[in-house]
């Protein structure tokens, strides 16, 4: 089985300052990392590799520095790493570039990508890529297993989960926090930089033209950006049922309900 895990380098939100007045992000002192849900996707791919014979190819599209996310993926256990070096594009073109890369990578069984990207929370690349590849997709995956040429996934809904199946090849978008990504071991980190290879392609290698891409870029119109409202923290009441109900009643009475 061949699994393509797509990784995007993004700013670590913890290091980005949000301007509440302007609703914009200040990234001047920010540090970059693997987009969290992409990392969850890679972990899901590596778990599949652990349970059956599979090859995991980490794929990233971005500036040359994005190579770091691929080195980290190699350290975590990816078998191969491919960087498509190019300037950032909007989501529809990013999906196009990735679909072309997929063509060059050959036959695959699964494509795994994070559901959302950190920062602005965009989530179109996965679904668009599935359309371009002409494969079924399961979004917001929490867990996946493959058997008999099918992917069986637990997919998150606003309330609860749906258990879905799709014939392979298929594309999955994995929810942030779906799993706990493994640590790259320390020997693997050093080896990822000193011994492993990252294959680099340009958009031209994929039969695309940077000028045409740039021309078509920016068609996504940003209507508005705003800071998410801070939600009140929930409270989990634990203990035995009788006690928990008593506490809950106390809370409700306290609020005059």
């Amino acid at each position: 089985m061949k699994i393509i895990a797509i990784l995007r380098e993004r700013f670590d939100p913890k290091t980005v300052r949000v301007s509440r007045t302007r609703g914009t992000l200040d990234t001047r002192r920010a540090r970059k990392f693997i987009n969290p849900s992409d990392k969850n996707g890679l972990e899901e791919a590596l778990r599949l590799k652990g349970s059956q014979k599979a090859k995991v190819v980490a794929l990233s599209f971005g500036p040359p520095e994005s190579e770091d996310v691929l080195r980290e993926a190699l350290a975590m256990g990816a078998d191969e790493a491919v960087l498509i070096s190019g300037e950032s594009l909007d989501e529809s073109l990013e999906a196009l570039v990735l679909s072309q890369a997929m063509g060059k990578l050959g036959k695959f069984d699964l494509v795994i990508i994070g559901h959302q990207v950190a920062g602005y929370g965009a989530s179109q690349v996965g679904p668009r890529l599935a359309e371009l590849l002409g494969v079924p997709q399961i979004t917001r995956v929490q867990e996946v297993e493959t058997a008999d040429g099918k992917a069986k996934a637990k997919s998150r809904r606003s309330e609860g989960y749906a258990l879905l199946e799709a014939p392979l090849p298929a594309l999955l978008t994995v929810d942030g926090g779906a799993n706990k990504p493994r640590y790259p071991t320390l020997p693997a980190i050093i080896s990822a930089y000193q011994e492993r290879e990252v294959t680099t392609w340009t958009v031209v290698d994929l039969g695309l033209d940077q000028a045409t891409l740039s021309e078509r870029d920016g068609k996504t119109e940003v209507r508005e950006t705003y800071a998410a409202e801070e939600r009140e923290k929930g409270e989990r009441i634990t203990g035995d049922a009788v006690q928990a109900v008593r506490i809950l009643l106390g809370r409700l009475r306290g609020r005059g309900l």
């Binding site: 770091d68 080195r71 980290e72 350290a75 640590y183 790259p184 071991t185 320390l186 020997p187 693997a188 980190i189 050093i190 080896s191 990822a192 930089y193 000193q194």
Partner: protein, 388 residues
Amino acid sequence: MDFELSKEHQLLQRAVREFAEAEIAPLSAQIEEKKEIPRNLIEKMAEFGLFGVPFAREYGGAGAGEMGYCLMMEEIGKVSSSVAALLGAHIGIGSMAIYLDGTEEQKRKYLVPLARGEKIAAFALTESGAGSDAASIQLSAVRDGNHYVLNGSKIWITNGPIADVIGLFAVTDKALGARGGVTAFIVEKGFSGFSIGTIDEKMGIQGSSTGELVFEDCRVPVDNVLGQFGAGFITAMKALDIGRMGLGAASLGGAEAALQKSLEYAKYREQFGRPIAHKQAIQFMIADMATEIEALRSLVYRTAWMADTGQEFRRLADICKLFGSEVASRAADRAVQIHGGMGYMRDYFVERMYRDARIGEIFEGTNEIQRIVIATDLFRELGVRIRP
């Protein structure tokens, strides 16, 4: 001049930080209370690769060099001095002695499982009559056919009670003393005649296991002589160079944690209607801590860089240990002061840190010995031979 860490060291630093925060920090209170590092944590640490950071990958290490070792010790030092002590004794001195002076066979047999964390190492030099005056050790080794027979005891040995492999220093020629009369041996815990004596109760680093090692006609094969016969003191000093640098790195981490806790507390604690962060008395302590931390960081990283580039770094390693341990103690002391009554409460992080920091000024050579060694080395350049 380039102060940027290599990409691999940056990733190693981040990975160790994440591991330390997620896997070690939540257990630090339990480690303190139970006075031991849980076995399953040691297994996780081994799997992650913490036990062999500086050693070459062909010997089961990470191949991250001394810079990688120091970055690791710094991150571990932030969350648990007990775990830092375990790793410092295991890597910096215990396994390091075998890495530096072991034969190829000894490295295959002993270093590989040590670097993988399958076995734990200790370094045994101190005796009841020989601490700072390390050349006065009494534990004797006498040849008997294909073995040496060891008699005597070692005290206050970090990791001693839990170690599988011990780098041990014994007298093989009393007349020659430190100059040719001390030999290093690799001792396995299963060797006949070897036993654990008193297990020590300490002021701090409660999770670190420290104790007495007793040798009664303990038979060690001649193949387990480490380094050249009679040159054990040189082996000990070379390993201690790395150990002291790593101790400086762990101290750096401890001091950084003290500063971080102090910043958080000063931001939150209100007196006279405002957070105490607004008081200059607090600001001055914070600024002094930050200043010393930055000086220490530059010192430790530069020393590691010199070690990795094959330059002479002994004096700097001694300075790392001396300055680092004192910076950590001062930072812990200030952190307690900033926290006020809270800082004095048992089982609160800074109270533990204050007790933990104290040992840094004592083990791996007291700070008084470090000062003498540093001064002796400086005077030697002027042709003055300082006598003890």
